[in-house]
Chain length 503, copies 2
Amino acid sequence: MSEQNSTTAYATLKSRFARLSALGGAQAVLHWDRATMMPEGGAGARAEQQATLSLIAHETLTAPETADLLASAGDSADALADWDRANLNEMGRIHRHATATPTDLVSKLSYQKSKTEMIWRKARAANDFASLAPELTTLVALVREQAAAKAEAFGLTPYDALLDGYDPDRRSADIDRLFTDLEGFLPDLLKRVMDKQASAPQPLPLTGPFSIPLQEELGRDVMGALGFDFAHGRLDVSHHPFTGGVPDDSRITTRYDESDFMESLMAVIHETGHSLYERGLPAEWRNQPVGRSRGMTIHESQSLLFEMQAGRSTQFISALAPRLKKIFGGEGEAWSPENILRHYRQVGPSLIRVSADEITYPLHVILRYRLERAMIAGDLVPADLPGAWGEGMNTLLGITPPDDADGCMQDIHWPSGSFGYFPTYTLGALAAAQLFSSAWKARNNLGIELGKARFVELTSWVREHVHGVGSSRTPDEIILAATGAPLGTAAFKSHLEARYLAS
Amino acid sequence: MSEQNSTTAYATLKSRFARLSALGGAQAVLHWDRATMMPEGGAGARAEQQATLSLIAHETLTAPETADLLASAGDSADALADWDRANLNEMGRIHRHATATPTDLVSKLSYQKSKTEMIWRKARAANDFASLAPELTTLVALVREQAAAKAEAFGLTPYDALLDGYDPDRRSADIDRLFTDLEGFLPDLLKRVMDKQASAPQPLPLTGPFSIPLQEELGRDVMGALGFDFAHGRLDVSHHPFTGGVPDDSRITTRYDESDFMESLMAVIHETGHSLYERGLPAEWRNQPVGRSRGMTIHESQSLLFEMQAGRSTQFISALAPRLKKIFGGEGEAWSPENILRHYRQVGPSLIRVSADEITYPLHVILRYRLERAMIAGDLVPADLPGAWGEGMNTLLGITPPDDADGCMQDIHWPSGSFGYFPTYTLGALAAAQLFSSAWKARNNLGIELGKARFVELTSWVREHVHGVGSSRTPDEIILAATGAPLGTAAFKSHLEARYLAS
């Protein structure tokens, strides 16, 4: 293959991936609209639209010409500039993931995921695991088939092959090491923090109702302070908060509860973190694979950097408290920064992952990680989940779920076919602590700025070290380059000790 | 070709057109979102998404296999059931329109339309026709090329070939006949009505402000009364009211003015008419060409049936007036049905088509129809539009536009490349009057029902005779079957005389 043909092949690939990017953007709008705007009766037509766009994207990606173009472009990859070479690598990675699963399995999976998710919604509401079990069994069998096919194609273990789809180049050996470390540390820390908490003053109640328009106004204010650009995005309401859209049109959502503004506000900060990452991706690579976000661990590190690290810092809460007091017309000691902090820093074992505090959250994730690995390995059948779940909750958190609805059926991930996703929540929390610690050292006045509710220092640091890197490096390379160390537990552990035991 | 192969070909076509339908539905969501939700900064990414979906749809439609399949299926069209045969006909019609224009001309047109529309927005705001003229000249040249290509392919005149894209099987010979008739009738009617109006009491002012949330509540109430199903649709706000989405998820919009609720309310009724049509299309043909709406004349007949015929009827306004009085806390004679009617029935020559009354509106359309025919024929160059416009306004309406912004630059149609669209507004008004008159005769208690703000009688009649027919017949066949007469001016003329001269 001549160099000129290789160059042409790469140019053709770029336009093909630009088309895929536009299709992905259209899919993002359909997804956002479905969660925020669509009337119930539109579900059937929307499912057709989404399935059609997915199918067209899959056909475009897996067309025989794409493989030929990749082979041809690869012949002279060395002649490409760095970003282009990284872009070509990413094209190859995306293509490998798309082609590793046989087409008929793709269809079967897609059907069984929709079906299981639908049945899960009812089964969870009715606390009826028995009705979910057979569907989940079928789904896990298909996911294991897919994992085996990808394992074969990539030369990885089946679980690692799935993991790679969420967090490129991540291996379960890394996770085992990190999670074992956390498991040895967190339960003891939790005990010490709870002892300290028991002897400290209880948070004074913040009594609502907190009007939803005011909560929304507050959310927008805080988003603005974080650097969210409303000319390139929106804030809306959905059942579960999420970040959607595209980098130039980023749609975040939250949900409101008139009796509590605190959870919604932190959801807004969390999603703004995701959104700032998307918005900060390299603009000149907008429609190319190398310009995309770098997997779920890095994505979650950005949301948690803003929510857990900066958003719940003493400095920022000190700046936030007077604003809260004013907007809600609050009075007295309950609205002091100290009391707000107490609310945001209550810890303790609980049943539900999504509302867990940052000390116990990783234990929820460790449980799920081990159970899903066992399911993919064939060592645990879905029908045995309730027992294994109860045992794990007892060992890790010392509590026993009263039922399956708030036990092994609480998350949508498995019923929707996502295996290998859970660990990225905690890997993201580790990365967030490590990145924040480095940013803190690199930018002298970061703390002072946060104390004025100003995020420019923090944002400019992560733009440079994380956002602007796009997918030109692996997640671990990004962390190593940004912090000088591989992803580890040290910063996270120091962060928890400093926040919950010092002072 | 064997019959079995033909059947397979038709089945393959059905699945191909189902894909096109899903793509069209996705495009409808992108379009709606752009007009109602999208932040300004999302425009670039959205344009890419929309262009990509259009290109994929065009590629799917014009792929050589589609032509082969159509030929093959056509070989045994006689063996198909009626609806399937009509569906195959529609596939052929859509395919002919898509393939008649050479691909490079499609691209050039798409580019020049976007460019001209963008320049028009500025030129209109600055009343600067000189800056628009060269772009419009280029665009008209390209549209004439397209018209010539379609004329050649269809065996029609160039203008008729364009017209066919908006109103299938409509020919300018029909329009000439109808419009000449109207031109001989309306100016004299206008004079008589204005004389009568001058000696009648002037409408008492309805003084605002009318709060937007209340206007919205009113709009939703009225939509509900008309039969709009909020489980299958939404009401939102956009710069220009429109109906978007898909039949099972119909999105209508209006705009609000705190000093006047009357225009917004009628826009809601107008768009609900469009929406009810989409929603009433044959459900079993949802994703096939024969299940689509039957062109712009029939579409406009449905919006005007609800807005002009039923919505401004004495019966409905009598039911509406007490509701208006209550929701806005109005007092006195100004809120009587008689006074509300007076507001909704003021007539007189005016500059702007979109705010014209139903007597003068057709004269605005006749002007545009003649000018655009002359442009397509090459008898009028765009640079000469201002002079021709002024002359036409003087002849038809007896007024002289003070400038081009409110003259020949007031409409988006020509700058966005729509030639052959304008006549459908007035053809729709004629059809609306004719259909309403037939419904009135067929359903004894239609007037009584309207007087109770109940539309079930009217809606069930148009569902049966228009909505449920989909595209299984031509527009004129629909009108003939529904009313017993071909599309004419008689019902419209009687309607105007009865409404504006009787009593």
